[in-house]
Structures are given as structure tokens and as C-alpha cells.
């Protein structure tokens, strides 16, 4: 359950962060694939490193992979003004094709659609191996990283001049420009960081669970991040409980998997999300009318 919530924290945060800067990041799916592959590559390429170095390096690679991918979309928007929704959707296709090529033709393990396993020094430990709680669950320390990143992002957005600039540019670009802010720089920066967050979500699967990169691992988590961000009203802290709620839905689906058709589960999940969005929206309107 919390294992399922972990990647949603990152993709939700990614979408929310871009939203705060006035952009719609549909590309979390692609960024997360690139990030996950980068983390896997760092995992199986560097083999002689102690874990204290290898794990941070893997984290950096995951972030950098997603960030680089989103940088393209952000740069295109800032430079030629092409809309980030189109940019990120197209980059999703390219990202999936790219990792598919890399997995199938360059780093292939025969008869599979996955990369070689990463070195044990890059494994991010599971909770049950450290604490004894959550035994049998692949729930791992990436969740803690997620919480830290959310808290840090929340602090930056709220309390720093940079965060203030990001919020301003997200609400009112003209006012931001008149106030002397560099909109283009902010656009590229926010998109890049948002991509980095999405990239980190690959750690959960690659370093925390299977220890390799496998095609199709993301299962739409990037898109689900949009719903998470919406319900959390783009608040980095609120992302955490909302992601956990979505994790519960996913997990519940897996539990009753043998009893009901998969489609029913999907429909129920979708209905739950729709109702949650509607209810929060209605509630908000009630409050604002008050």
C-alpha cells in the first residue's frame, strides 16, 4: 500500500510543482521512465562503490534523468513558446521508445524486457529488513526520501525568494515580468525541477524493489500524478496523504484481483477518484462562498 504510494508522491509533486509555476506537466510518465533507467544504469555500471556513495549517485542519476527530459520541454516553451502540454506529451512517446530501444538492444538480458540487475551497493533497503515492520511488503526507504523532498519543496515554495518568484509567475506572468522576474529562466528551471521529481519516482521500483529496470514498470503512475496533484491542490505537503490514499486504492485492487475482473477494479478506482475530486471541489466552493 505505502509501496504503491511512493512513486505517486514523486509524480504528484512533479505535476504540482509545475502547476505552481503555471505549467501543466503531462510528461511525468516519460520523465519517470528516463529517471528510472538512469538510476538502473548507474546501478549496474558502477559496481565497485560503497553504498554510501552508490545510493546518492543513483538518486542523482534518477533526478538528472527526469530533469534533463523535462528541460527539453521547458526550454522549448521558453525559447519558441511551444506549449508545454504538447511538448511533454510528445516527449513521453520519445522517452518510452528510447528506453525500449535501450532495454531491447543495448542493455538486454536475453528473453526479458529488462536490464541487468543493479549492484547490491545501490539497493535502497526495504522497511522490513531494517525495522521488522511491514514484513513481506516491498515498501522501502524511498518513501522517506519522498516525504523529505515534499517537505523541502513546501518550504522552498513558501519561504524563499525563488519560491515566491515561482508562485508569482504561476499566478500572473505579466505581474511577474513587471516585477523584474526573468520568466524564461523560471520556466526552464521549474520544468526541470519538476522533471527531476518525476525521475526520482523510478527509484522505488529500480533501487527499492526489483533491482532492475523493466519496460512498462511505470503503469501510468505519471498520469496518475496529475490526479494526485489536483486533489492535493498543488500543495507539496498535501501530496503525501493523497498519494497514500491512491496507494490504498491500488493495493485494494491487487488484493481482490483474483475475485473480480481487472476492469471492475479499474472502474471502481476511477469512480473513487472522480468522487474524491468532485467532493473536494464542492467543499472548496462551499468554503469560498462562506
Amino acid at each position: 500500500m505505502l509501496f504503491k504510494a511512493t512513486p505517486l508522491i514523486f509524480t504528484g509533486l512533479s505535476v504540482a510543482f509545475a502547476f505552481r509555476a503555471g505549467m501543466f506537466n503531462i510528461g511525468a510518465e516519460g520523465q519517470m521512465n528516463i529517471g528510472a533507467f538512469a538510476a538502473a544504469w548507474a546501478g549496474f555500471t558502477f559496481t565497485a562503490l560503497p553504498w554510501v556513495i552508490h545510493i546518492p549517485i543513483s538518486i542523482c542519476f534518477a533526478f538528472a534523468g527526469g530533469a534533463l527530459w523535462a528541460l527539453i520541454a521547458g526550454y522549448l516553451k521558453a525559447r519558441v513558446g511551444s506549449h508545454e502540454v504538447i511538448n511533454t506529451i510528445m516527449l513521453n512517446f520519445i522517452a518510452l521508445a528510447l528506453v525500449s530501444y535501450l532495454v531491447n538492444s543495448v542493455y538486454n538480458v536475453p528473453a526479458t524486457v529488462r536490464t541487468p540487475e543493479i549492484s547490491p551497493s545501490a539497493h535502497i533497503p526495504r522497511f522490513d529488513s531494517i525495522t521488522g515492520f511491514f514484513s513481506g511488503s516491498p515498501f522501502n526507504m524511498v518513501f522517506i526520501i519522498g516525504i523529505c523532498v515534499c517537505l523541502l519543496t513546501g518550504y522552498i515554495i513558501r519561504n524563499t525568494p525563488l519560491g515566491y518568484e515561482i508562485r508569482t509567475s504561476g499566478f500572473n506572468r505579466d505581474a511577474a515580468e513587471y516585477a523584474g522576474m526573468n520568466i524564461k529562466k523560471l520556466t526552464v528551471l521549474s520544468m526541470t525541477v519538476a522533471g527531476g521529481f518525476a525521475g526520482l519516482s523510478g527509484l522505488n521500483f529500480v533501487n527499492g524493489y526489483k533491482h532492475y529496470f523493466e519496460l512498462g514498470f511505470s503503469e501510468g503512475t505519471g498520469y496518475m500524478g496529475i490526479a494526485v496533484a489536483l486533489i492535493a491542490r498543488n500543495n507539496p505537503i498535501a501530496i503525501i496523504p493523497v498519494a497514500v490514499f491512491f496507494g490504498i486504492l491500488e493495493y485494494g485492487g491487487l488484493t481482490v484481483n483474483t475475485l473480480v475482473p481487472k476492469e471492475i477494479i479499474t472502474i471502481i478506482q476511477a469512480l473513487t477518484i472522480l468522487s474524491a475530486i468532485t467532493i473536494t471541489e464542492l467543499f472548496r466552493r462551499r468554503v469560498s462562498l462562506e
Binding site: 515580468e177 513587471y178 516585477a179
Partner: protein, 494 residues
């Protein structure tokens, strides 16, 4: 007896905690011009929006010719013969005047095609009757605003509107255009139309309207018929109390040049040159007014001076290239450029000043200093309600403008550029901002005021430059000129 065309009885409307309208009674007889006046946030626009179906009243009823009607949408309003010209015109660029008039009501013949010929004929005769003559085949974006306004009115007549609501119609017109406009309005009223004028200019009310309704904080505080009305009674009814700020007089300036602009050319977003090689200078302590019909390059000139638009030529402050932190700027479009609606008052105070040392240290915003400073501005600028943490949109337009002015004028600047600094403000707020600008100029700063309110320019500035099609058609000493002369330069007639 004239039969009463519009009656609004006991209209109330609440927005959240604010009672925008409180049991308002309003009547506008046909064949007359009725003015609705009041300060910012008095409820004028809300009342008219209710009549035009853009907003629904909580209580109260609307009667047309004595019959109660329900107006749930603008299309209902149009069906009942109500038409409105908004402050910002709703014309489609790229279409001709004729096309703009028939848009939304393109009458077709049996063949299913638009009856161009007979429609054209119909519009021609409308123009003849009302005296609103225009060329039907010119694209509207090339026409001056005065003509665009005529198109808007003809559009309403074409739709057989019998009740015409005009929201601040003269804000964009030159003095000559205003006179012409008023005579057309009188003609329309004589032909039996009901004309409702929303305005806050006392002179307009006195010169055209048959009766006046004064709103204050959502209540009707007075209704007059024009015969019994003098300037003084209306002015004191409008401000509620006597105007309480004493007017400062502008001071003499030094001869030392502060801002020096040479051969400045600027292009707009579409790459068209809109400022065409202008040169001017502003001295220390001087207030330079820039007059001109909107859209003659004011926006681009101001953006170039502020350093947010590329330009050719030379801009120098005290002989050096300007640094944006030296410039304080009150933007023309407050909601779009001056504030962030989603922010609180204090977050808006921070706008553009967030990198100043006193507000940010060690990559962290110093909220305590900000709170203190916001309270200082609230006190100094008399902002109401006085809460730093309340949302800026909870304030009336005038108070929002005070926040913007407070933020900009307390900057450690050498040049102040104020675009339409008092647009839409009531008398007291206007006086207040005017005094502030005079005080800042007296600190040996240079002040540029871009405004379409000639009265304001004549009162505040030492010299007035008139911008016409991207060049200065004249730079006049304001003690030696008047509105009429400036108006002629504005339209390129002189």
C-alpha cells in the same frame, strides 16, 4: 408623463461577506439619460450587471414598462431590448465595422444566405437617424476608439435595443470626441431610448443627464433630477463627507537633467514600430505628463523605459544606463500587471521587492520585516481594511491601487513612471495619489505620468507631451495650454 421603462426594486446582492447591493431602487425613464454615479466598489457595475443578466440578484425584481420580468442571462436581456456597451469594447479585430455590427445576429433570407444588401441599407438608415455616421467597410482595429464606440452603439440599435447601458463610456475619448458623443446620446434619448450612463465624472453627469442616482456602499443615498442639481451637492454626496485631503501644489523643479531619452524606437509584440524615434528629457523634481489616445504607443514606451521591452536608441538616467531597481512603476492595468490576485496584501507588497536585502536574507524571505513594512504602508497610505494577511481581492479597486502605489513609491528609486495612476478611483483616493506623486517629485526624483485624464495631467505635470502615432506631436508647458488644445494634438489635427 413619461412611461417608466426600467425599474429595479429592492435589489440586494451579497458576495461572501460583502453586501454589494442593499435594497437598491433604481428607475430610468424612457427618453431620458439617467446617470449612475458612486465611488469604487459602490455597486454601480453590479447593479448594471444584474440588469444585463450577467449576475443574479439575491432579492428584488426588475420591471420593464411596469411588467415584472426575469432576466437570467444576457440573451434574456437582449431579448427584452437591453443592450450594454462595456468599458472594454467587444469588437472582433480583423472584421469590418459592418461585420462587427451584424455579428451574432446575422439575418438571413430564404436562401439561407445573409441579406447583405438590405442589412446594409437598414444600418445606413439607422446611422442617418441617429447621426452616428461611420464608414462601414473599414476594419475596426484601424479605427480610433471614438469610432469603435459608435460601432458598439450602432450594434445595439441594430439589435433593436431600447435600453442602452454605457459603462464609463468617456474614459477613452478625447474632449472633442466626448462632446460629439454626448450630442449623439441626447439624440438617442430624444428618439425615446432609455439611456443609462455609469460614470464617476461629475461634469459629465451635470452636462448630459436628466437624472442621477448616487450609490454608496451598495445603497442608494440620493436621487436627483438635473434641474435641482449643482456641482457642490453632487460632489459632497459622492464623497459622503467633504473632500478631506488638502491638495498640494506642484513645486518648481531643478534644471538638472535626470532622465535623458534619445531617438527611442520601440516595436510592439507583432514587430510593428509603435514608438518612432522620440527624444525627451525629464529634470530632477519634474513631472512630465504624457497624454494621448490609448494605443498610440504608451504601453510600449513605458515598457521600454522600465527595461522589460527591447528598444533602439538611448535611455540614460543621470548619464548612465538605467538599472531596473532605480525605477518605480505603477502599471496601467492593475489586475493584470500590478498585483497577483491570489496573493495577500503583504505578498503583493513583496512583488518586485523580494530581492531587496531587507526582505530576504540567507535565501529566506523575512516575513517579520515584511509584516512590519506592510503595516507601515497600510497606515501611511490609509489602506482599508487594514489587514496585511487578507487577500488583495478583498480590497476595493481604490485600495488595491493604494497598495500598488505604496509599494512602488516607497522604493528607493530615482525615476517614477505612473500609468493611469488614478483610473477608476474616487475623488479622495485620487487626491491622495496625486499628493503622493507630488511629494515624491519634490525629493528630486523624475516622474512620468501617462494618463488619459487630461485634467489630471494639467494639474500635476510641469510639461505635457502628447503622443500621437508613436511620436510626440507636441510638448507643451502645462501652464500655457488647456484641454481643448491637447485634444487637438491627440487626434493629430494640430
Amino acid at each position: 408623463m413619461t412611461d417608466i421603462s426600467v425599474e429595479m426594486i429592492g435589489i440586494s446582492k451579497r458576495f461572501g461577506k460583502i453586501q454589494a447591493l442593499d435594497k437598491v431602487n433604481f428607475a430610468a425613464p424612457s427618453g431620458e439619460i439617467t446617470s449612475v454615479v458612486g465611488e469604487n466598489g459602490a455597486g454601480k457595475s453590479t447593479l448594471m450587471k444584474i440588469l444585463y443578466g450577467m449576475s443574479k440578484p439575491d432579492t428584488g425584481e426588475i420591471r420593464l414598462n411596469g411588467k415584472t420580468v426575469k432576466i437570467n442571462s444576457t440573451s434574456d436581456a437582449i431579448k427584452h431590448g437591453i443592450g450594454m456597451v462595456h468599458q472594454h469594447f467587444m469588437l472582433a479585430d480583423g472584421l469590418t465595422a459592418f461585420e462587427n455590427i451584424i455579428i451574432g445576429d446575422e439575418r438571413t433570407g430564404k436562401s439561407g444566405l445573409i441579406k447583405f444588401k438590405s442589412l446594409r441599407h437598414e444600418i445606413r438608415s439607422l446611422m442617418k437617424v441617429t447621426g452616428l455616421e461611420i464608414d462601414l467597410d473599414v476594419r475596426t482595429e484601424d479605427l480610433p476608439v471614438g469610432v469603435q464606440q459608435k460601432i458598439e452603439i450602432i450594434k445595439l440599435l441594430y439589435r433593436d435595443s431600447r435600453i442602452l447601458i454605457l459603462d464609463e463610456p468617456t474614459a477613452v475619448l478625447t474632449p472633442q470626441e466626448v462632446n460629439e458623443f454626448f450630442s449623439s446620446l441626447r439624440k438617442l434619448a430624444e428618439s425615446g431610448k432609455t439611456v443609462i450612463l455609469i460614470t464617476h465624472k461629475i461634469d459629465e453627469v451635470l452636462s448630459v443627464s436628466n437624472s442621477v442616482t448616487v450609490l454608496k456602499r451598495g445603497k442608494v443615498i440620493a436621487s436627483y433630477s438635473s434641474e435641482s442639481l449643482t456641482r457642490e451637492t453632487l460632489a459632497s454626496a459622492l464623497s459622503g463627507e467633504k473632500i478631506h485631503t488638502t491638495r498640494l501644489e506642484k513645486k518648481n523643479h531643478s534644471c538638472e537633467v535626470l532622465l535623458d531619452v534619445k531617438d527611442l524606437s520601440v516595436t510592439n509584440d507583432r514587430g510593428v514600430t509603435v514608438i518612432n524615434g522620440i527624444s525627451f528629457e525629464v529634470k530632477k523634481g519634474e513631472i512630465l505628463g504624457i497624454a494621448g489616445v490609448e494605443g498610440n504607443g504608451q504601453t510600449e514606451l513605458m515598457e521600454a523605459l522600465c527595461g522589460i521591452r527591447k528598444y533602439q536608441g538611448e535611455i540614460k538616467i543621470n548619464g548612465e544606463k538605467p538599472n531596473t531597481s532605480q525605477i518605480a512603476h505603477i502599471p496601467a492595468d492593475r489586475l493584470k500587471e500590478g498585483i497577483v490576485k491570489e496573493f495577500s496584501v503583504e505578498e503583493n507588497i513583496l512583488l518586485g521587492r523580494h530581492r531587496e536585502r531587507k526582505f530576504s536574507e540567507h535565501y529566506r524571505i523575512n516575513f517579520r520585516t515584511l509584516r512590519k513594512f506592510t503595516k507601515f504602508i497600510i497606515e501611511e497610505y490609509d489602506v482599508n481594511p487594514p489587514y496585511p494577511e487578507s487577500l488583495i481581492t478583498g480590497l476595493s479597486g481604490g485600495n488595491q491601487q493604494k497598495v500598488v502605489a505604496g509599494r512602488e513609491l516607497t522604493k528607493d528609486s530615482t525615476l517614477i513612471i505612473a500609468s493611469q495612476p488614478t483610473r477608476g478611483l474616487d475623488i479622495n483616493a485620487t487626491e491622495f495619489i496625486h499628493n503622493r506623486l507630488i511629494i515624491e517629485a519634490s525629493k528630486a526624483k523624475a516622474v512620468i505620468i501617462i494618463s488619459s485624464d487630461l485634467d489630471e495631467l494639467l494639474k500635476l505635470s510641469h510639461r505635457i507631451a502628447v503622443l500621437y502615432r508613436g511620436s510626440f506631436s507636441a510638448i507643451l508647458e502645462s501652464s500655457e495650454t488647456n484641454e481643448q488644445e491637447i485634444g487637438l494634438y491627440m487626434t493629430g489635427l494640430k
